[in-house]
Assembly symmetry: C2
Homo-oligomer: 381 residues x 2
């Protein structure tokens, strides 16, 4: 294979696929990036078997030649050094020439690089997916949905299915849910897809969604999504992102979402976050993160407090926008509430209480589609 | 003790002294910050026994009251939580009230904090230093001198004195030297001090100088320096920074600095740094960081190369500004050269060669006061 390419185009594609290169692997070929060049352009691919990313650089863009192919072919180039050196090349033209023994020569301005490549035949093939469950979503909507729930997945491998986000599609509404058994995050958004398209129990690993989020464009570009039996494919422009799906049955969360509340409050999101954060500072020293919210005699005021047996106590009065129902006193993991308040962009947040020992429900006041549930700590006083 | 203070003033002083709070300590009192308030203002102090920092907030600044003392006194407040919470207080007025049992009440707007303080009598006293070796230096000059040499101190405790920077003052010239036996950095600057003031073998721990550097102002403010037997004191405005001095005799480096060269070159600093950095990328994979510089037949060009038995080879041609003397071929630790090139701000850098197996000398072309020495690798080819 032999081709020339603009450094910036090569670098952008490398940065995209490099997110799939495993930092450690027992399979040497996976520590490389597969390059394929032909008349259509250059394609790069990396895989850690959990996710695979392919990025394609077309030969021409708007009539300008980006990749000039002289001899088609493939090779696997060692990723670690390649990723860094291409980013630091001083000139814009990069010439790549690969011998039959996979010796890679890279030349750019005054720089000559010789690299020992690997046989591309050894590199894993991208899965071929049946496209019967296929739909399209705006990149910004997908990014928002990921951000609103992915923090709540479990980090414990004890129940692997809980390390993923559960996707459900029904009646043209896409739903994401994540839980680690102590808290739950879910969001739903109407999407434009065939009415008859539906699926459930499609569980995408949370960490893969976070990686996907990094390469999704911010703009309202459309993302194609294909859901197959054990893989999901996301296509964003010239980038293909494959994620393994998790096996197992995701728990039914619909039963645990309360329908009525004993008390309802609305807070300014930023002021609540700041107050919880201050109480968290002390409670994290106890490693429990326990913060208590107490409704006071003053109608519109709550007290947020935490204490550490060793250090002391912090108490703060916070005015709510509104409070109704029974007076409540509830202790909870402040880290869980901060996680929610950090991703919610609404100015106001609703908190519904179902009892001192029962779940709290948080909702962005202006977004009926998002819902968070936090279990309280069971404390004696 | 009882006083009120502006949050910003308290926070600034806390951030300064907190750099001396040890992250781990077997002496509980040291995990705190000592506060002293009296009619003159508030003083904060922290110490890890290696460095101690004191910051003073005067009662009034330009006629404005910053600290309003109601009852003088002292207490030691637990640093970890205190540092974070003060930074995150929402209002500007902070009221502090300490009981006789060292129970600290902090009140700011809607927030009440109770902290268990410690007895200030247990906190180590600041050393009393004889001021016979005292001089003054511009903050910017001291910062530059620290930056130009401190990276070259040894990180090995095998020879503790080499983990410090050796200070010498003679004939109104202050000299800093640092070496880890593989490379040497030294810088000298003329300063304004009494002609008869002189000292040598004053060795300040490199990491303490880096901490000092963080709190030194960038401006041309004057810093008072007192050198005592086993302590140095730096006074920058309202901040006092005490550093322990290292015991032992610093090696005499004057003998190893070559007076003549077999070859002399001048490079553009930024272009040389970029070329060495590219060769370093490959050589670091070998963990040796070995890069070779070879003078070519072309008068003004050198070749910079590195190789990895596993990955391959990178070769780059670089034009020098000037080359004279014998043709040279030398292998060296590229990390050592990058460390120098990163701190040198001169556009041009001089490199003098004394032989393939002998030290290289680097000097910023426009700064006779700074000098670096790098020992070559002894390789066979």
């Amino acid at each position: 294979m032999k081709f020339s390419i603009y450094k910036e185009a090569l670098n952008e594609a490398i940065q995209q696929v490099s997110k799939a290169v495993p930092s450690k692997t027992s399979i040497p070929i996976l520590s490389g990036i597969k390059m394929d060049v032909n008349g259509a352009g250059l394609s790069l691919m990396a895989s850690d078997t959990d996710i695979s990313i392919q990025s394609f650089v077309p030969a021409t863009v708007d009539g300008e030649t980006i990749v000039r192919m002289e001899r088609p072919g493939s090779v696997v180039v060692p990723a670690k050094f390649f990723v860094d050196i291409v980013r630091k090349l001083p000139e814009n033209e990069v010439h790549v020439d690969v011998s039959e023994l996979f010796l890679i020569s890279i030349q750019s301005g005054p720089i000559d690089i010789q690299l020992a490549g690997l046989d591309p035949e050894e590199f894993p093939q991208l899965p071929l997916l049946g496209e019967d469950r296929k739909f399209t979503i705006q990149s910004a909507v997908l990014k928002e949905m990921i951000q609103l729930v992915s923090f709540a997945v479990s980090t414990s491998e004890a129940a692997p299915v809980l390390t993923g986000v559960n996707w459900t599609l029904e009646d043209q509404v896409l739903k994401f849910a994540a839980t680690d058994r102590h808290r739950l995050a879910c969001v739903e958004r109407a999407i434009d897809c065939p009415e008859e398209l539906r699926f459930h129990n499609v569980v995408v690993p949370g960490k893969n969604l976070n990686e996907l989020n990094k390469i999704l464009p911010d703009q309202s570009e459309l993302i194609d999504i294909v859901i197959a039996d054990n893989q999901a494919l996301f296509r964003a422009g010239n980038v293909l992102f494959y994620s393994r799906l998790l096996e197992g049955t995701y728990p039914d969360i619909s039963k645990i979402i309360p329908g009525t509340y004993k008390a309802e409050t609305i807070f300014d999101t930023i002021r609540l976050e700041a107050a919880i954060d201050r109480a968290y500072l002390l409670s994290r020293e106890e490693k429990t993160n326990i913060v208590r919210l107490t409704m006071t005699d003053n109608d519109r005021e709550v007290e947020i407090s935490s204490s550490s047996s060793e250090l002391g106590r912090v108490t703060e009065r916070l005015s709510a926008e509104s409070i109704s129902g029974e007076p409540m006193k509830i202790s909870f993991n402040s880290k869980y509430m901060l996680d929610v308040l950090k991703v919610v962009e609404d100015e106001k947040i609703f908190i519904g209480f179902t009892g001192t020992m029962s779940p709290m429900v948080l909702r962005p006041a202006g977004d009926e589609g998002a819902l968070y549930l936090i279990l309280p700590y069971r404390t004696l006083n």
